[in-house]
Structure formats: structure tokens, C-alpha cells
């Protein structure tokens, strides 16, 4: 029976998809059966007594024992032993779940209101978690603002992302062909890895974190080794040869901008991106600023320095390099109704001479890099260069 239980999926739980999920499910089922036994016992006795000993006359004087120590011990000690056993199994499972193996593949998880960023050792990052199958994966969790919690039900794995501190979790997803399928939505004929089957699981934020807590959902994709490596290459090099506006369009999706900044003119937690380029913005302090390249760059890199009137300073800082910032600015430009499509690259020197409107705001001393330069910047894509030191 124990053997069969160990293979079983937890009653009412999703299909287990990590190495330790079976251990959890085994204990889960054990507790379920024990609970069921006691529930049936208690309910059964109760209903039996209610029917059998129904009051027939209001003056009945039933007599019986008032106490019996042997009986008390009899129904205290067996449950105590059962719960102690449950504790021991639970603790052993807990140690397995909380102790990452030494050779784990590491991913840095940055959580923020309201999204995820998964950074791989090669520097590439994404808002979805892609991991290799049959290999322990260790996640190092950090939070930029409040407490979040990374939860993958299929893995039975959950850990809080606590600001100011690095928590760790790990899991290993064995390859299960029955769960794997090709994600048709992302198939790209030029990229072989998009046509390989993956196992896809939901990933939730489980610790309440504010307005869009319930939208802080993403996916875990488990790849076989080959397609995972292809994915990693693509992740690190996807910007190569891409026009900045396209880079920005993709970053808009993957860096979480989409959570708060709409494209259709409606305002969310942040202002819409539609038609903001070149328009005058009113700040909370009454200052009026034209949304030029400098303003946008500053607002992206130092989001809470100046706030447009009517909004809260809630935007997290997002790690972006200069290429990425330039891409986002280029993308925002395309969202203006009067965008003509003739400007592809942003040249910072020209901008500074022609569009600098507010000398008081020294937005940047660094250069915004033109699209032509992007290729040379690929090597240190994740290494941020502080603008002040240039």
C-alpha cells in the first residue's frame, strides 16, 4: 500500500512535476486518509448517538461514567503518535525541499510590483522562467519592493521573495513526455527551439502585494537540454540586428511595463505610453516638463524621482542597459499618432543641443547609444555602466 501511495498523485492536487513532489504527495495522501478515518469515526459515532439516544421523555436521568483516565490516554496517545510521525515525514520532506543540491543551475529571480524577471547566468533575462529538465535548478529570490512569493503548484514549491534579503529555493523537473507539448503561440520558423516540445506550468505570486497581485502570474517552461541551450543563446543575443523600436516593443512585454502602462490611451497605475513623446507633462510639484528623450530616459531609470500629477511613486527600478533604454524610447516614439517612421535611431548629442528645455534638470551625462552601436555592446549586456562615471 505504501508503495502504491508513493507513486500516487496527491488527492485533488495537480499532476506532480518535480522530483520531490511525490514525497509531498505521499504525505498529503497519508494525512488525507488519516483525516478521513477520524472524520468518519467522529461523524459516525455522533450520528449514531443522536439517533440511538434520542430523548424520549424530558425527565430521563441517564447515568454513566464521569471520567476514565485509561480511556482518555487511549484516545490521546495514538493520535499523538500519528501526528508525530506526520511531523517527522514533513520535516524530512522540508529538508529535501529547502536544501539545494550543490551542482544546481542558478537563476536570479527579481520580483517587483507586479512582475517577475528571471536572469540566467549568461546575463539574459526574461519574464518567463525557462529551465532545463532533469537538472536541479536553484532560484535566488530577491524583491525590489514588497514581499512576493514564488509558487509553482506543479512543483509543490513556494518561497517568499523578501526585500533586503536573498532567499533560495530549488526544484528539479524530470522530463515527462506526457506533459510536454509544442507551444504553438511562440513557434518561430527561424528558431528551432521554439518548435521543440516543453512542459509548461503556472507560476503564481502567492504573497499579497497590492493592486495587480492577481496578475502577477507567469509560466515555467521546462526544456530538454538541446532546446534549452538554444533558448539561452537566443535570450542573450536576441537584440542583435533588431531595430531599436522592436527591441523596445519586446522589452515592453517582458520587463513588466505592460502591467501599468497601456498603449491605448487609458491610464493604469502609470500613464499610458500613447502620445506621450514630445508632449508637455505636469508633475506633482507643478513643474511642467516636455517628454523628450532625456525626460524619458530619466523616468525609466529613476522612476520615482519626478512623478506625473495624478500618479503614485510606485514604479520599481528595472535593470536596463543603455541599449535597452534607447529601444524603449524608440518604441514609445512609435506610439505617437503623428509618428512618421523616419526616425529610427536616437542621437543623444543632437538631442541635447536641440531639445534640452530645462537646464535645471541635468538628466544625464551619459550618452544614449545609437542602434548601430548595439552589436558592440552585446558582450557586457547585463553590466550596467553608471552614467556618472563615463
Amino acid at each position: 500500500m505504501i508503495v502504491s501511495l508513493a507513486q500516487a498523485q496527491g488527492i485533488g492536487m495537480p499532476v506532480p512535476a518535480s522530483t520531490y513532489a511525490n514525497e509531498v504527495d505521499w504525505l498529503w495522501n497519508f494525512i488525507t486518509w488519516v483525516s478521513l478515518f477520524f472524520t468518519v469515526l467522529i461523524m459516525g459515532l455522533m450520528f449514531y448517538f443522536v439517533i440511538k439516544y434520542k430523548r424520549k421523555h424530558p425527565d430521563e436521568r441517564p447515568h454513566g461514567m464521569h471520567h476514565n483516565t485509561a480511556l482518555e490516554l487511549g484516545w490521546s496517545i495514538p493520535p499523538l503518535l500519528i501526528v508525530l510521525a506526520i511531523f517527522v515525514w514533513g520535516f524530512r520532506g522540508f529538508l529535501d525541499i529547502t536544501t539545494p543540491p550543490a551542482n544546481s543551475y542558478e537563476v536570479l529571480v527579481t520580483s517587483y510590483k507586479w512582475g517577475w524577471s528571471f536572469t540566467h547566468p549568461n546575463g539574459g533575462s526574461s519574464d518567463e522562467l525557462h529551465i532545463p529538465a532533469d537538472r536541479p535548478v536553484k532560484l535566488v529570490l530577491e524583491s525590489q519592493d514588497v514581499i512576493h512569493s514564488l509558487f509553482v503548484p506543479a512543483f509543490r514549491a513556494k518561497k517568499d521573495c523578501v526585500p533586503g534579503r536573498y532567499n533560495e529555493m530549488w526544484f528539479e523537473a524530470p522530463w515527462n513526455p506526457q506533459l510536454a507539448e509544442v507551444n504553438q503561440e511562440r513557434v518561430n520558423p527561424e528558431k528551432a527551439w521554439t518548435q521543440a516540445p516543453t512542459m509548461a506550468f503556472d507560476l503564481y505570486c502567492a504573497e499579497y502585494c497590492g493592486t495587480s497581485h492577481s496578475r502577477m502570474i507567469t509560466m515555467v517552461y521546462v526544456h530538454q537540454q538541446e532546446s534549452f541551450e538554444a533558448y539561452l543563446d537566443d535570450l542573450a543575443n536576441w537584440m542583435e540586428g533588431m531595430p531599436p523600436a522592436d527591441i523596445g516593443a519586446r522589452l515592453y512585454q517582458t520587463k513588466g511595463c505592460i502591467q501599468c502602462h497601456s498603449l491605448d490611451g487609458t491610464s493604469g497605475n502609470g500613464p499610458t505610453f500613447r502620445n506621450i513623446y514630445g508632449t508637455e507633462r505636469v508633475m506633482t510639484n507643478g513643474e511642467r516638463v516636455v517628454a523628450d528623450n532625456n525626460y524619458l530616459r530619466q523616468s525609466i531609470l529613476y522612476p520615482n524621482q519626478t512623478i506625473v500629477a495624478g500618479y503614485q511613486p510606485v514604479m520599481p527600478r528595472i535593470n536596463l542597459n543603455d541599449v535597452e533604454v534607447a529601444g524603449l524610447i524608440a518604441y514609445i516614439k512609435t506610439l505617437s499618432d503623428d509618428y512618421t517612421g523616419d526616425q529610427v535611431s536616437v542621437d543623444v548629442d543632437g538631442v541635447e543641443e536641440t531639445e534640452k528645455t530645462d537646464p535645471g534638470v541635468e538628466a544625464t551625462t551619459g550618452a544614449i547609444i545609437t542602434a548601430e552601436q548595439t552589436g558592440q555592446e552585446q558582450d557586457n549586456i547585463q553590466q550596467e555602466t553608471p552614467p556618472d562615471q563615463e
Binding site: W89, G164, R165
Partner: protein
């Protein structure tokens, strides 16, 4: 409806009390001030009842709002996602905060405890009547803070420009006020925490009063082990109230300081530790769960024994298990933090102690069952609620074992499994015990009968509605549905639809119960002194009790010995055999 002649007030021997002496606490003193300034524990209990039931209504409104929001997987009320989600977040936060701080913690101790504790002791009042009144006003003041928070929130929605005038309203932190979210929230967190702080004082004062009363006011002949078990439960509750609530007070004070004074104890940017807040909070709030459940267990011990007409089984074990739960309850707070990165050693200790708390709870359930064994069971409304309690508490308690087991908890923590679990314990158990107690002591409190038929209909609606609402949430939680989600993936839709429909049934049932009470107050007939044949001292006086509780202090006897009471069909109640209690009989005739 035919006019029934008003039956006379009768004493414990079934003899009519003459009109001159029939003065009761309700008619003793007239005018609003005789209520507002009263030191009478019974009147304070009644005022608590009105206020706490109003709070229950308020919390219930939020419950319906949030369940209705969840009837669709996407935004239900407002097209704009931000508005909609904020609205939902504020609803569940206020639902939790109002229900926990304003309803369920004071429900049984402040209403039934206040009313019954001195009566059960054969005393004239609690030890410190003035503190008792102060506690009521603390409750009122704390509640006023929450109404302010709520009013601000509503007005801000109606007139958005007001936000610029007086800042954010409402509350969106969850009732747990976790930092750093609560530190940065723009809603009225400071006012809400101040409210909870003041409500804490109300709770502390009640605890101080009960401990001193039980220690000092027990009559001769009532040793510690001859007290009714409800008093043991209240005593254990009071220990928690005085030892845990001050920590909540300082926690909230530190949180207010974080928001206003740049104190950084819980703020990682200032070298603090947000997880420390969770230690602080749960050091109070886990024992607070036992503040809710222990008095409930006390009520059930009384009701089960009386309606089985049989001496409670295992008195000593039930009494001591209350104390054991109170003490052990302080040592398990860390089981709320298994996923926070808490040290593995500490997690193991907390898990182990959590497991052991299951044992005193199991002892109580088995003792209640054994009390019913070979009893004479009458399925009156209070007994129905008590049986419902055992049912729901068994489920709530056993699902607690899932949550206490470390590896399993990692999966179900912060999912609907937890939501279902604590609703089974808090609502299923405490609310049912509260309703059991209300129906059990109603004739004593108001001297009026209520409609058994409609009260039972109310019970079945509440019971069915409750299980419909919450049992399905266990399944949703095992599937991985995280809690506090305004929107959710489609695969959870069916669970939420069932749950929401169940909550409507539950609501209808609660209104039926309320209707029964209101009907009873208006049309109810005079009840005898002891309609159920119970023997605790509160039944040794007229219904409702006189201003000074007892015209003559009754001698303390075994509260679970029912052999001296005989059924009187004319009164539809029990009368004391004069032969068996010559002393009391003599006193009554004097």
C-alpha cells in the same frame, strides 16, 4: 395571531414571582443614560451584543462583495482593472479586519462571557465593573477608527478629488498589515492600526476583569474544579488576551512609527527586517486564534452536556486541555512563516508544537462524544449548532494537520486551502458556537422564547451554506489557487461559482437567525427560569435575571448534575425539587 395572556415570571421552583419583585435588569433603570453609564455586566453584555452584531453585518457585507467579485475570473465590478482590483483588495482587507478585530474576538467573551461569567459564579458583577464599561467604550472608539477608514474609502471613490484633501482612505494591506507593503500603502493604514490598537485595549481590559473575577469571586463551595467549563475556557482565553494582546499593541505602534517617524525596524531599506514584523504579528495573532476558539469550546461543553442531560465526561481533561491549548498556542506562531525563509531549526520546533496542539483539541472532541454516549439527547437549536460545531471543527482541525506538516504546508501555504481551513475553524467553529450559545442563553438573557422551527431552518441554511462556500475551497487550494486574488485563471472558475452561491445561502441563513431573535423580542413568550434543565448557577435565578443577579445567592453545586431538576409541562421548563435543595428552597421562601 391570537392574544396569549402574558405568563407570569416564575422562580426556579416554578412559583410565580409577584409583580413587585419581578424587577429585572432590563427594566431596572430607564432612559438612555441608564444604559450608557451602567456598570451592570448584563447591560454591558447586551450593548456589546448590539455593537458586535452590527460589526458582523458590516464584515458580512464585505464578504458578499468579495465573493461576488470572484464569480467571474476577470474584473467583475469595474471595467478598469486598477479600480476593480483595488476595490476587491480593500473589500477582503476590511472583511478580514472587521471580522477578526470587531466581531470574532469579542463575540463570545464580550457578549456571552460578560453576561454569564458573574451569573455562573453566583456573583453580583465582574470584579471591576468600571473597567468593564471602559472596555466597551474602547471597543466603540476602536470601531470608530475603522468606520472612519471605511467612510474615507467610500467618499474617496465617490469624490476622487477628496484624495488630495485628506489622503487615501480604505485599507488594502490585508488584515495582517504585512510590512513593507503596509509601510508604503497610501490607504488609511495608520488610522486602521490605531483602531486595532484601541480595540486591543478593550480585549485586555476584558481579560484582566475575567481573571480577577474567576480568582476572587468564586463562591464558597466552588473550587477550581467545580467551575462550569465555560469559565475554564474564559480563563484560558483571558490568559492569552493579557499576554498576547500587548504585543499586538506594540507591533501596531511600531508600524505607525514606521509610517510616520522613519523608524526602520521592519524596513529593509533602513536595515530592518520585514520578516521580524511577521514574528511580532503572529506572536499575537496566532494565540488570537485561540482567543476565538477556546470560548467556543467552552460553550460547546455546556451545551453538549445539558442537551444530553448527562454529566460532562472527562471534566478535568477538558479543563486542562483549555489551559494546554492556551500555553501551547503561544509556541506555534512560526507556522505562518514556513515559506518566509525562517530558519529550518525554528520551523521544525514550530511544526512539532503545532502537531501537539492537535491532541488537546482531539481530547475535547472525544470527551464530548463520550458525553453524548448513552445520554438523553434533545436536538433543540443549541444542540444542533453544537453538533454542527463538532462536524466543522473536526474538519477544520484535521486540515490544520496538513498545514502543520512542513513539506505539505509549502504547497498549500497562502492558497485557498488556508482560507478554507481558517474559515472552518473561525466561522465554522466559533460562529457556530456563538450561535449555539446565543440560542442556549437567549431565554436567560431576555426571558423570551423563540421559534424553534425557524431557528432550526436558520441552522440548516447556515450549515448548508457554510459547507457549500468553504469545502470547495479546499479543492481549489490543493489545485494551487492563491488567496487574495481579484482575478484568477479559468481553471478555478467552477470552484468560485459554487463558493459564491454558497455564501448567498449562508447569508440568507444568518438573516433567518436574526429574524428569529427579533421576532422573539417582540412576540416571544415568558420563559421559565430554567427551560433546558441545566444546573450551572445562571439557571438558578429568574429569566431574565434581576438587577443584582440573584435575590438570594444559590449554593454552588456540581454544575453538571441535573438530577435535582424535574420537567414541568405547564411551564415547559424545569423546576428544582425542593427536597433536594432545602437550603435554596428555604432561602427562596424567606
Amino acid at each position: 395571531m391570537s392574544v396569549i395572556p402574558k405568563p407570569a415570571v416564575t422562580d426556579i421552583f416554578g412559583k410565580p414571582v409577584d409583580e413587585q419583585k419581578a424587577d429585572n435588569y432590563l427594566t431596572h433603570g430607564r432612559g438612555i443614560l441608564s444604559w450608557l453609564l451602567t456598570l451592570d455586566h448584563k447591560r454591558i453584555g447586551i450593548m456589546y451584543m448590539v455593537l458586535v452584531l452590527a460589526a458582523f453585518f458590516l464584515g458580512g457585507v464585505f464578504a458578499i462583495v468579495l465573493r461576488t467579485e470572484l464569480i467571474t475570473p476577470n474584473e467583475t465590478f469595474f471595467a478598469d482593472a486598477t479600480t476593480n482590483n483595488d476595490f476587491y483588495n480593500q473589500s477582503f482587507t476590511l472583511h478580514g479586519a472587521v471580522m477578526v478585530f470587531m466581531f470574532i474576538i469579542p463575540a463570545i467573551p464580550a457578549i456571552l462571557g460578560n453576561f454569564m461569567l458573574p451569573l455562573m459564579l453566583g456573583a453580583k458583577d465582574v470584579a471591576f465593573p468600571r473597567l468593564n464599561l471602559l472596555s466597551l467604550y474602547c471597543y466603540l472608539a476602536g470601531s470608530a477608527f475603522f468606520l472612519w477608514v471605511l467612510g474615507k474609502g467610500v467618499l474617496n471613490i465617490l469624490f476622487p478629488t477628496l484624495v488630495g484633501v485628506w489622503g487615501g482612505g480604505g485599507l488594502d494591506t490585508g488584515w495582517t498589515f504585512y510590512t513593507p507593503y503596509s509601510t508604503d500603502s497610501t490607504t488609511a493604514v495608520t488610522a486602521a492600526t490605531a483602531g486595532a490598537f484601541v480595540l486591543g485595549f478593550s480585549s485586555i481590559l476584558t481579560g484582566v476583569n475575567f481573571i480577577a473575577s474567576i480568582h476572587m469571586l468564586r463562591p464558597k463551595g466552588m473550587g477550581w474544579f467545580r467551575m462550569p467549563l465555560f469559565l475554564w475556557a474564559l480563563y484560558a482565553t483571558s490568559i492569552i488576551q493579557i499576554l498576547a494582546t500587548p504585543v499586538l499593541a506594540i507591533t501596531l505602534l511600531l508600524l505607525i512609527a514606521e509610517r510616520t517617524l522613519n523608524v526602520g525596524i521592519f524596513d529593509p531599506a533602513l536595515g530592518g527586517d520585514p520578516v521580524l514584523y511577521q514574528h511580532f504579528f503572529w506572536f499575537y495573532s496566532h494565540p488570537a486564534v485561540y482567543i476565538m476558539i477556546l470560548p467556543a469550546m467552552g460553550v460547546i461543553s455546556e451545551v453538549i452536556s445539558v442537551f444530553s442531560r448527562k454529566h460532562i465526561f472527562g471534566y478535568g481533561f477538558i479543563a486542562m486541555s483549555s489551559l494546554a491549548i492556551a500555553i501551547l498556542g503561544f509556541l506555534v506562531w512560526g507556522h505562518h512563516m514556513f515559506t518566509s525563509g525562517q530558519s529550518a531549526l525554528l520551523s521544525a520546533v514550530f511544526s512539532l508544537i503545532t502537531m501537539t496542539v492537535a491532541i488537546p483539541s482531539a481530547i475535547k472532541v472525544f470527551n464530548w462524544l463520550t458525553t453524548m454516549y448513552r445520554g438523553s439527547i434533545l436536538l433543540a437549536t443549541p444542540m444542533l449548532y453544537a453538533i454542527g460545531f463538532i462536524w466543522l471543527f473536526t474538519i477544520g482541525g484535521l486540515t490544520g494537520v496538513f498545514l502543520g506538516a512542513l513539506s505539505v504546508d509549502l504547497h498549500v501555504h497562502d492558497t485557498y486551502f488556508v482560507v478554507a481551513h481558517f474559515h472552518y475553524v473561525m466561522v465554522g467553529s466559533t460562529l457556530f458556537a456563538f450561535l449555539a450559545g446565543m440560542h442556549y442563553w437567549w431565554p436567560k438573557m431576555f426571558g423570551k422564547t423563540y421559534s424553534e422551527k425557524w431557528a432550526k431552518i436558520g441552522f440548516w441554511l447556515i450549515f448548508a451554506g457554510f459547507n457549500l462556500t468553504f469545502f470547495i475551497q479546499f479543492v481549489a487550494g490543493s489545485q494551487g489557487m492563491p488567496r487574495r486574488y481579484a482575478t484568477y485563471p479559468d481553471q478555478f472558475h467552477i470552484y468560485h461559482v459554487i463558493s459564491t452561491l454558497g455564501s448567498y445561502v449562508l447569508t440568507v441563513g444568518l438573516f433567518v437567525a436574526l429574524g428569529v431573535w427579533i421576532h422573539s423580542l417582540i412576540y416571544g413568550r415568558q420563559t421559565p427560569a430554567n427551560p433546558w434543565g441545566a444546573n450551572a448557577l445562571e439557571w438558578h435565578t429568574t429569566s431574565p435575571p434581576p438587577h443584582h443577579n440573584f435575590n438570594k445567592t444559590p449554593p454552588a453545586t456540581d454544575p453538571y448534575d441535573y438530577s435535582h431538576w424535574t420537567y414541568d409541562a405547564e411551564l415547559d421548563g424545569y423546576v428544582l425539587n425542593e427536597d433536594n435543595e432545602p437550603e435554596e428552597a428555604e432561602a427562596a421562601h424567606a
